[in-house]
């Protein structure tokens, strides 16, 4: 393991401190319990709080700011944060209109946020993101994982909350965006959790993990490495099949295409992926009218990428386009 770290026990705090120092105009870092809040507390709006294990930067701290989150609770690397963090964060950012938690669908995250919500002295609601169509959904499992589509949910809900919309409306939009979003990821290499000191999984120079999770969880299957277009074509098919299974028409649909890097894949390759993905979706009658390409939901130093398609409607489009001012996403302001 070769990383810019001093001691595995200090990685998180040193990184959070660097983040807070680099964006001192935007955020305030609170330690013990750890959470990050907007520099300028919003007034009279639903407070949006997200959180999850560290290692997915800029998710979630990078999305704190006007038009997106009010606070984020970072756990240890790839480990859900704990209820005390969420409770303190909620207390700090609550602005009279209740708390909306945005939680990626992992047993740990869901249970920790659930316990926090139960203990919370304010009204709250929770949007659980579950855009990863690599995991075939089933009533027998705890369902699909929340991956890069979470960024779109956070952006849109954050925008709506800024208009003064109430808790139910924010939750409804979050659920809608989540249901209209599907993602699938591919890993070329494993990530290495600092505390583990070695790669999470072994993978051959000629293999890829199709459907990998953002913690390096195994995906649909181990496959032979192929040319980019063949891999991407399978990703596009998985997404189209998912929407079909869930009775969403995709033809003639306007959509947002997010090509997300997992941390070690260069932008040059992400744009190449975008090129093929957009072409294939267009061939299926989908009109890509919004795009995002870059490292938005990472898995430490994993080489790989994910494709996310969000089916737009006027409401989602409006909230995607609205001004946002965060460390990891900024426009119109």
């Amino acid at each position: 393991m070769k990383k810019f770290i001093n001691h595995i026990d200090h990685v998180l705090i040193e990184s959070l401190s660097g983040f807070a120092a680099a964006h001192a105009d935007l955020v305030t870092l609170h330690l013990d319990p750890n959470f990050i809040t907007r520099k300028n507390k919003a007034v009279n709006k639903v407070a949006i709080i997200s959180g999850g294990g560290a290692g997915h930067e800029p998710l979630h701290s990078g999305y704190i700011g006007f038009g997106m989150l009010d606070a984020a609770c970072p756990g240890h690397v790839f480990t859900s944060p704990t209820p005390d963090q969420m409770l303190m964060a909620a207390e700090t950012v609550h602005a009279g209109q209740g708390i909306l938690f945005i939680v990626k669908n992992y047993a740990g995250d869901v249970m920790n946020f659930e316990m926090a919500a139960e203990m919370l002295p304010f009204e709250s609601a929770t949007v659980i993101t579950s855009d990863d169509c690599a995991v075939i959904n089933s009533t027998y499992t705890n369902g699909r994982r929340g991956v890069a589509g979470t960024v779109i949910v956070e952006k849109c809900v954050g925008s709506l909350a800024e208009t003064g919309a109430n808790l139910a409306a924010c939750k409804a939009l979050g659920d809608k965006v989540n249901s209209r979003t599907a993602s699938i990821g591919v890993a070329l290499t494993s990530c290495t959790v600092p505390a583990a000191g070695r790669p999470t999984f072994d993978i051959d120079a000629l293999e890829i993990e199709m459907g990998v999770g953002i913690h390096g969880e195994p995906g649909r299957r181990r496959e032979a490495m192929r040319e980019a277009d063949a891999i991407i074509s399978d990703c596009v098919d998985a997404i189209l099949t998912d929407f079909k299974t869930r009775n969403f028409a995709t033809s003639q649909q306007e959509a947002l295409l997010l090509i997300n890097g997992f941390g070690a894949t260069p932008l040059m390759e992400l744009y190449l992926i975008y090129n093929t993905t957009a072409r294939l979706f267009k061939q299926h009658g989908i009109q890509i009218s919004r795009s995002l390409v870059g490292n938005y939901t990472t898995a430490l130093d994993m080489a790989g990428a994910s494709v996310t398609l969000c089916l737009l409607d006027d409401e989602i489009k409006q909230h995607w386009d609205s001004p946002v001012h965060c460390a990891g996403l900024r426009w119109g302001i």
């Binding site: 319990p33 294990g53 756990g75 240890h76 690397v77 790839f78 480990t79 859900s80 944060p81 704990t82 209820p83 005390d84 992992y106 047993a107 740990g108 249970m111 920790n112 659930e114 316990m115 690599a134 995991v135 075939i136 089933s138 027998y140 499992t141 705890n142 994982r145 959790v193 505390a195 583990a196 999470t200 999984f201 459907g211 999770g213 913690h215 390096g216 969880e217 195994p218 995906g219 299957r221």
Partner: protein
């Protein structure tokens, strides 16, 4: 039961977790995200760190403190589940305590009381995680152990044979996870690929049970 014993048990658990780094880590790497050992270690160390403080409390309160501490230190899936266990067990034991607690004094609990507390803890895990036996989780160890424990305790078994049986039951539970498809937790995404791998949470629960039983049998 004395709080002293709870602290000794927590230290025995800590030692057992630390001694099984490779096992726990590689199990979670195979079908999870590789952090289960780190999570358990963080929790075990946190309890050891507050041992002195715990000594001031009645056993049930100490168990509740342990639950709260685990809740704010472990994180992940195992954090709220184990926390729920200890908090629920604490609640059940507290309901069986009828005298004012005097520091360092023994609180009388029957084996059946403790078994009921353990079972209540397991029930809390079931409620929190919405899982049950056969889903390739820690419950594949905890549910059979709880059932055995309640059964043997109500049959007025001696402590040693109870411990021996529970340790065996826990080991069988661990092995039973090997051939299962996971339907809860992180491994649920794996489908068939989870087969052949032991569930890390089941293994750590078995380690904890063994550590406490061994301590009891040595006493």
């Amino acid at each position: 039961m004395k709080t002293e014993f709870i602290i000794a048990a927590a230290k025995a658990i800590q030692q057992s977790i630390l001694a099984n780094e490779n096992t726990l880590e590689s199990l979670d790497r195979a079908i999870g995200d590789g952090d289960h050992y780190i999570n358990m270690k963080r929790g075990a160390n946190a309890i050891a760190d507050i041992a002195e403080e715990l000594a001031n409390f009645a056993p049930s309160d100490a168990l509740n403190k342990i639950g709260l501490k685990l809740l704010s230190t472990i994180g992940g899936a195992s954090g709220p589940l184990l926390a729920s266990f200890f908090m629920a067990m604490a609640k059940t034991l507290a309901s069986q305590t009828h005298k004012e607690y005097v520091l360092n004094e023994n609180v009388e609990y029957s084996a059946a009381d403790i078994a009921a507390g353990f079972a209540a803890g397991v029930q809390a895990i079931i409620q929190r995680g919405k899982a049950n036996i056969g889903e390739k989780t820690m419950l594949d160890v905890l549910i059979p152990v709880a059932n055995q424990f309640v059964l043997l305790a109500t049959q007025n078994c001696e402590i040693n044979p109870i411990c021996t049986t529970l340790m065996q039951t826990a080991e069988q539970g661990v092995i039973s996870t090997k051939d299962l498809i996971a339907t809860k937790g992180r491994a649920a995404g794996l489908g068939e690929r989870a087969i052949g791998h032991i569930d890390p949470g089941a293994k750590s629960c078995q380690l904890m049970i063994a550590a406490v039983c061994t301590l009891l049998m040595e006493a």
